[in-house]
Every structure is written in structure tokens, then in C-alpha cells.
Subunit: 218 residues, 2 copies
Amino acid sequence: MDVQTIELKKTILENNDADADKLRGENAAKQVTYLNVMSAPGAGKTTTILGLLERLKGRLRCAVMEADIDSDVDARTVLEAGFPAVQLHTGGMCHLDAEMSRQGLRALPEDTQLVILENVGNLVCPAEFDTGADLNLCILSVPEGDDKPLKYPLIFSKVDAVVINKMDSLPAFDFDLEKCKDGIRLRNEEVPVFPVSARTGEGMDALADYLYEKVTNK
Amino acid sequence: MDVQTIELKKTILENNDADADKLRGENAAKQVTYLNVMSAPGAGKTTTILGLLERLKGRLRCAVMEADIDSDVDARTVLEAGFPAVQLHTGGMCHLDAEMSRQGLRALPEDTQLVILENVGNLVCPAEFDTGADLNLCILSVPEGDDKPLKYPLIFSKVDAVVINKMDSLPAFDFDLEKCKDGIRLRNEEVPVFPVSARTGEGMDALADYLYEKVTNK
């Protein structure tokens, strides 16, 4: 299957925050909701997104932008599952900004209602750049450890929801879910936390319903 | 236990590469070997470093610099295990450069032979900045997936050795060790790969011996 890959042009804008607000306006006019999914490498972004696509099928028209420094394995996976996807190559950049998002959005079907961005796997830099998304989500996985909210404060303070993935691997690791939630709440008191296993499906219905609600009640 | 924490001053040097070479010269004159350990968040850097410290005890005088955006949990852990350690706060920065390394090195015992830096958890940015280290090591953990060398090419191409950690969790994940090694070799044909479990100790003696050899035969 052919994967459309966009080599993003780097944009050094004076004011990315203003451009991000502009992008939110453009998307609102088209009735598009833009969801930015961030995590460390290997936390299960692609598997979680696939689980959401399956659960939202027939309810929302979704499409995916897969951002990576190199490779097109993730866009290929989403396409093979039967959903529109485009691969974005960041040219070595560790994050996406609003104009880079716009370059990808243009390549997606016009009637898309929910665009999901799989950001570059990184808990630091993506939190510093507003992509213009309407919703921001962070995935933390059990094998990474329950102390991550203490070490990467910015990302946890900025997101609208936190997913704790790979709950099925809990027996193999020393991970204290309550301690992890306490760490998250220190950064972001009211943020909803969804413990899931994207692999087994545990907890995924609740996450899909939360997103559906957010998109349709905007 | 009191943890010495250094709030690093950001340095925008014209030429970090030249400064990194200078730092290597300064360390060589003091017979110090500087090891930079990089990985994604939660790959097990601290546990691996602790395992190395135990195995090198009595053979090399080691000390640790723990870099994080926030918290001092890692330096505290190393100190409590009985080894010299200093916490470096990067002030939100996603990587360390040579001058930031130098600020940390000054805080360690003068007779140290091996300084281990636990870099910020990030597979992207730390690979782009030469810390002035003599040896660079990347840890990839089984739960992250065997496709990571395809997605983060730069870091795998630049390191002197790759550690594959959390081998004890292999039954819980779809991880193909040979496929992962093939991906690493695509980026770095000759690089040694050490499959280990820092938690159970599996493979850690070989890694410690490799480092001892590198430090003493410099």
C-alpha cells in the first residue's frame, strides 16, 4: 500500500502561539476537531489510536497524521486498518508546530470530523509548542514507571486528558497506579485519567466515549 | 539525605562541537572518562546505572550526574545506594551540551575515574548535542518495541553501544530481538548490543566488563 509522506518544511514563525490560534479558527470553520496525542517513544500511541478509530467508526469520520523523524511504518499500519492516514516527516525536528500541522491537514479528506495527530515520541519538546490542536492527550505506559509526572511536569500540566496504557503488563512491573495519579494531579488537578490496555481493549470504550463527547459537544 | 542540585545555566555557545572537544581534553588531562547514557523516558537508565556502579565498585571510582527537567528522585536513589551523585536541572531544556556537562563535573569528587551522565529521557534531542562525553550509550527497553531504531535513526547511528533492557519482560510483549538488532545494525553496523535486565541482573556483568575495558584501555 502506498503511503503518502510529506516532508515538512520547517517554519520559524515569529509567533507560533498566534498561528496556533489561527489554525484552531480555520478548523472550527470546517467543523474539524484536531487531537494531538503525545507520549514517550513506545508508550503505545499507534495501538491506542487504532483502538479509538475502531470504536469511533460509524460515529465520527476520523483521519490520522503520523509524525516521525523517519520511517512510514505507523501511517502504513493505520492505512492497512482501513482509515485515512498521512505520514509527516519532521526533518529531524523533535516536535510539530501549528504551520507543520497545517501542511499535514491539507492532505486529509475534506469531510474529516476528527483529525488525530500522533506527535513525535518525546515527553519534553512537543509540550512546548502549540500545534493548534483543540484537544491534547498524553499517554504514559506502565513500563515507564509511576514517577514520570514528577520528571516531565510541563506535558502533564498542559494536557486535557492522560491515558495510562499497558495496564495488562502491571504484574511484570513495580508500578503504583495511585502514586502515578497523585503525581499527575500535582501538575493538573482536574485532568481525567484513563487506565487502559490498547492491546486487550480494557478501558478503551470509556476513552472513545470521552473523545466522542468532546468532539460532538464542542 | 541532602541532594546537591545544580540549576544549570543555559549556554548558547557559537560552537558546541569545539567546546565538547575541549571538555574531552580537560577530562583526559584529569584521567576522567565521561559516559553519556541516553534513552527514552522510563527505559531503565537509573536501574542500569545502579547495576553498573555495583559491578564496578572496587575496580573504578565512579560518580553520577542525574539530569532532569525537574525532581531529584534519581540523584537521591544513587546517593542512597552509596555512590557520589549530583542532580542537574536543565531549566526545561531537553538535552545537555558540553558547557552544561562542565557545570556538573565540577561538583563531583576530584579522584573520580568514570563519570556517568544520565541524560534527559529523550531519544531525539540529546543525540543532536555533543556533551563532550568519551563514550555514548543508548538504552532501548523491550516494552518500547523493536521498531524504535527505524524511527529514531540519529541516536542509534551515534552511540558506541546499545543496551536492550527489560529482557525479563519479553514474555509480556511482542518484541523480536533479532528484528531490533537488524534495525540497529542498519544505523550502526559494528555497534555492540547488550541485551540485559537491570532488574534481574541478566547480562549486566558483560556490560560492566565492556565499560571497564573501555575506561582502562583508553
